[in-house]
Amino acid sequence: MKKQTEDIAYEGNAFLRLISYMKPYRGMFALCLVLVLGGTAMEILRPVIIGNAIDRYITGEEALSLTRDARFQGILIAGGLYVLLLLARFLLNRFQYLLMQKTGQNIVYDLRGDLYRHVLSLTMRFFDVTPVGKIVTRITNDVESINEVYSNVLVKLFQNGVKILTLGSIMIALDVRMALYSFLLVPVVVVLTVVFRKLSRAAFQLTRTRVTALNTFLSEHLSGMDLIQMFGREEQKHKAFCQKSEELYEANSREILINALFRPSTYLTYVIALVLLLLVGSSQVIRGSVTMGTLYIFIQYIESFFNPIQEMAEQFSTLQSALASAEKIFTLLDTRPDIPEENNPRILDKVQGRIEFDHVWFAYKDEDWVLRDVSFTIEPGERVAFVGATGAGKSSILNLMGRYYDVQRGSIRIDGVDIRQLSREQIRRAIGQVQQDVFIFTGDIAGNIRLLREDITDEMIRKSAHDVNADRFIERLPNGFSQHVTERGSTFSSGERQLLSFARTLAYDPRILILDEATAHIDTETERWIQEAVERLMQGRTCIMVAHRLSTIQHCDRILVMHHGKIRESGTHQELLALHGIYWKLYELQLLSRGAG
């Protein structure tokens, strides 16, 4: 039923799109690449200096022809050169690394911002069907894994590619035959690495599945421990757990085996290459076609030549998983909001608060009509209540007014203007909505009333809270308005939450008040505060409410009775009672339940 757009594979080329995010930073990136080239050159030069020094000053014909002092001087110069190289490399590496990471972080910052802005622009239909966790993962973890691409993988791939090419060329330039012998085992390393990647990936995935299976079992059985004990299943369940545990262990062992085989075997390849090189090199040296220094350089290079190959394989696989994340991110970015925003919205100078529903049909899904042909008009300053059983369509009417959803047929007008011609911002500023369940953000009480609007002063907060009686419970808190609260951690009763929500609404001073009363049981004292507060809230505003309390209903100018998506009865409290219809029954029921409380 909940088919998410995100499950559909991303169509475009995620890699090219990732690259396109680098555009603003292409200068920096180009500089990075140049620096990488420099750094690589220095790394390659390092053994050359020592190799050279050996040939020219320590041993060999040339060295033996010099005096000891001259030889030592030569070494000192080589040492000095080496130190210079070290310093240059230190600075270069540091600078290049910083530049690269900063660029990566900047891109991630941009991307994350874009993504979040986009998510905020999506409509309630999207949030209805997409689990919160999924959205959060996109914005946090998925973006994070893309970071690797910009700040690491791309540059490293380049660096290693350059390294392999340069080392290869130098080796060839130094001595073709020895170079060719050195390359002999390269295919072996490549094959080993690729095969290992495959095996280890498979093993890793198997482990992941088994870990998940074990964790699911664990979390389920820890939660259902009362059942296990009640039904006396301890032994059986322990056996079942051990079984799962054993399966995980087996998967782990496989992973260990594969890793234990791979790493040493690449080492073995290196040793074989080394021995091969030594044999060939020695025979060349004996024949005099290669110097000792060249052999030294080759011995040094062969190791640095094998490493980049293995690294590149690793980087390709990182790139792969980053691309998977990128596809998910881009799919989310491409999700279009289903309520189009009018490009040239009409501006209402001052909202009067007249609301019309004109033959409105509405469904959350397909043709499951929640509202069927609903029409009514509410005059500015009027107080109207909607009553009816759960699922009658009351809350949908409130949802439609704020344009959280669009109607399928008919239209809704504020002050005579179709709300589709107004900007959503304008509509929502005009409407103050008190929701049934009040969401509490982490922060303090004042922050929960002001939300993010800094222009609402502490004074205004206090006044709003005072006007709706919210200060009565707020002042009981140890830290009053600066009491720290969280959504999960707060222990407010549902009545207190309502009062908090009233204060929030009042602080924003809307023209139209929409009130979705909480159904939960509220103690008598708070109940009295709420009644007073509602009365004050309604003052001078157009009021539309879904009411459950008799007191609120009775004071309304008009009551509309909803049943199965239609308005079935309409009139004042007295008129409706006289009808002896649905309203009368609802009323009787309430009276009875009052008596019980």
């Binding site: 910083l98 911002g113 009362d226 062992s253 500023r429 969401f439 939300l451 019980a596």
Partner: protein, 598 residues
């Protein structure tokens, strides 16, 4: 504190003991690797010497080169085998130990009483199984290796340098390397802090997004999008900044490390070159020394790593240890009536009062009821009136302050052997929790031996048989995340079948029909009359229709018995019970009579 640590180590050793052979083989392999590792540079060095000697006179042939190369090859093969060996043995042992601890931990948790599970959230307990066991494993695996490897390498390399090359050169070249150890300890701390800060920034970002997306309705209703975006930008900026803090440190530490190694190499070049020219050292020794210097890097870095991994591992071991130390607070009494092997089903509440251990106000006070075997006791009342507590006490999830105030067959529940009590009572708990298993397995949950016939009978009585058969996989259908999602009513009916199949003398339905529609409910109740003939039933319900046929009806209000009697008696009283009844009748009318449409 000290004793605690000692006990922890004892616990770890207890597990290690079973794998001593593996550890010994692994460490042996490690030693072989380390010994041979220092041999290869020496061999290449001696080859160089041979070659250089040949060049400066003497007639050198390949026959002189071969043996050395073969020795290198042989060493390489041995190292390969050794490296395979230590990974295989030590990592394998650590994984085995992790598994054993995991199994024992679960077995231990099974023994703990519900109070422990109420006090410790599932997520927290899970963390012990995942994070804590992981760091214990790392301590017993990687850290063991690192410690041995680093110290052995260090000793061997330095020994080789001193013994085979040159004392002075060694002492001078090693000085910069010592810096690595100090740098490691110093930067390690800073790095750790910055890593933590980065992690915290990331969690803050996650929390913020999590919260905002959950509260998206408020954001939209109060037109906070732009402001929210600004707040997000700050958090985003903070994450970037904390990331860059780590990066900045890396950008210093990595090149610095490189630099230190470089300095050692320069010293080797200059001083070593000098010594070679002075002929106090051969070229081969010079080349070998170069390799030794690079080989020293790893042990130096390892020292810091060992320390931090060890402290993490011990902290985790401590947390695991604390669970093992936890004792169940409900256990079979010393003087339990072990002569009793089965119960009849008579239930007596004798002035029963109960306060939860962490609570202040009594949840139940002064309740007295007498139910004979085969009778039905119904309990009604608002949420929080203490109905479910009654079930907890019967199941002995908690003990009342006066153990004698709740009795089965005249014996205090606390004196019954636990297995007899649990076998005697079949319960359908309020949340009708099912496991992600097949429907059949779920129903058979409490059966010693699976009996397909009995399972189907129970499912029929619980009015769920037809729904099950309608699934493509029938009784083999998986429920839960990976299978079908059952509706609340279906879950309740499966849970009822699960209890019925046990044919226990006492059947408890804790608000177990709340999500079942009225017609089905009536049908199930009808079936129960047949199936449960002779069984004592305790039915907790909201709907009067569910319980009006009960032999005893107890109306609870705020933990007290507000009314007590049969349906007819209570209707006469015109009290709380009557009021509930009237309201439910009216509600029924409203649901049916409110509209002519479907």
């Amino acid at each position: 504190m000290k004793i605690q640590t000692k006990k922890q180590i004892k616990l770890a050793l207890h597990y290690v003991r079973g794998h001593l052979l593996q550890y010994m083989l692994g460490i042996l392999a490690l030693l072989i690797v380390d010994a041979l590792n220092t041999r290869i540079p020496r061999l290449t060095g001696s080859l160089t010497d041979t070659l250089a000697g040949g060049l400066s006179g003497g007639n050198l042939t390949m026959a002189d080169v071969w043996p050395v190369c073969m020795q290198i090859l042989f060493s390489g093969v041995m190292i390969t085998l050794g490296r395979f060996g230590w990974r295989y043995f030590i990592f394998g042992a650590a994984r085995s130990i992790e598994k054993e601890m995991r199994n024992d931990l679960f077995g231990h948790l099974e023994k703990l009483s519900m109070r422990y599970f109420h006090a410790n959230k599932t997520g927290d307990l899970m963390a012990h199984f995942t994070n804590d066991l992981q760091s214990v494993r790392q301590m017993l695996g990687m850290t063991v290796i690192t410690t041995f490897d680093a110290s052995v390498m260090l000793v061997m390399v330095v020994y080789s340098m001193l013994r085979y090359v040159n004392v002075h050169l060694t002492l001078i070249a090693i000085v910069p390397m010592i810096l690595i150890v100090f740098g490691d300890i110093f930067f390690g701390k800073v790095m750790h802090r910055r890593f933590r800060e980065r992690q915290e920034a990331f969690s803050e970002l996650t929390d913020m997004v999590q919260e905002s997306v959950s509260g998206i309705r408020v954001i939209k209703a109060y037109v906070q999008e732009h402001l929210e975006m600004a707040a997000f930008a700050r958090q985003n900026e903070n994450t970037r900044e904390k990331n860059l803090n780590v990066v900045r440190l890396f950008a210093l530490v990595m090149p610095l490390l490189d630099m230190i190694i470089g300095i050692s190499l320069v010293i080797t070049l200059i001083y070593g070159g000098y010594l070679t020219i002075q002929e106090q050292m051969t070229l081969g020794q010079f080349v070998a020394f170069n390799s030794y210097v690079t080989m020293l890097v790893w042990p130096m870095i390892a020292v810091g790593e060992c320390i931090s991994s060890l402290s993490q591992g011990m902290a985790s071991l401590g947390r695991v240890f604390r669970i093992f130390k936890e004792k169940p607070d409900i256990k079979e009494a010393e003087d339990a009536r072990r002569d009793i092997t089965a119960i009849q089903g008579g239930i007596t509440l004798d002035h029963l009062s109960f306060t939860y251990p962490e609570g202040e106000k009594p949840v139940l006070s002064d309740i007295s009821v007498e139910v004979k075997p085969g009778e039905i006791l119904a309990v009604v009342g608002r949420t929080g009136s203490g109905k479910s507590t009654l079930v907890h006490l019967l199941e002995r999830e908690y003990d009342p302050q006066d153990p004698a105030s709740i009795r089965i067959d005249g014996i205090p529940v606390s004196k019954l052997p636990l297995s007899v009590l649990h076998e005697g009572i079949a319960c359908v708990p309020q949340d009708s929790y099912l496991f992600s298993d097949t429907i059949e397995e779920n129903i058979a949950f409490g059966m010693p031996e699976k009996d397909g016939e009995a399972i189907r009978e129970a499912a029929k009585a619980a009015c769920i048989h037809d729904s099950i058969e309608a699934f493509p996989e029938g009784y083999g259908t998986l429920v839960g995340e990976r299978g079908v999602t059952l509706s609340g009513g279906q879950k309740q009916r499966v849970a009822i079948a699960r209890a019925l199949v046990r044919r226990a003398p006492v059947l408890i339905l804790d608000d177990a029909l709340s999500a079942v529609d009225t017609d089905t409910e009536e049908q199930i109740l009808q079936n129960l009359k047949e199936v449960c003939r002779g069984q004592t039933q305790v039915i907790i319900a909201h709907r009067i229709s569910t319980i009006q046929h009960a032999d005893h009806i107890l109306v609870l209000e705020g933990g007290r018995a507000a009314e007590y009697g049969t349906h007819a008696e209570l209707m006469e009283k015109h009290g709380v019970y009557r009021h509930m009844y009237d309201m439910q009748q009216l509600e029924k009318q409203l649901m049916h009579g409110g509209s002519g449409e479907a």
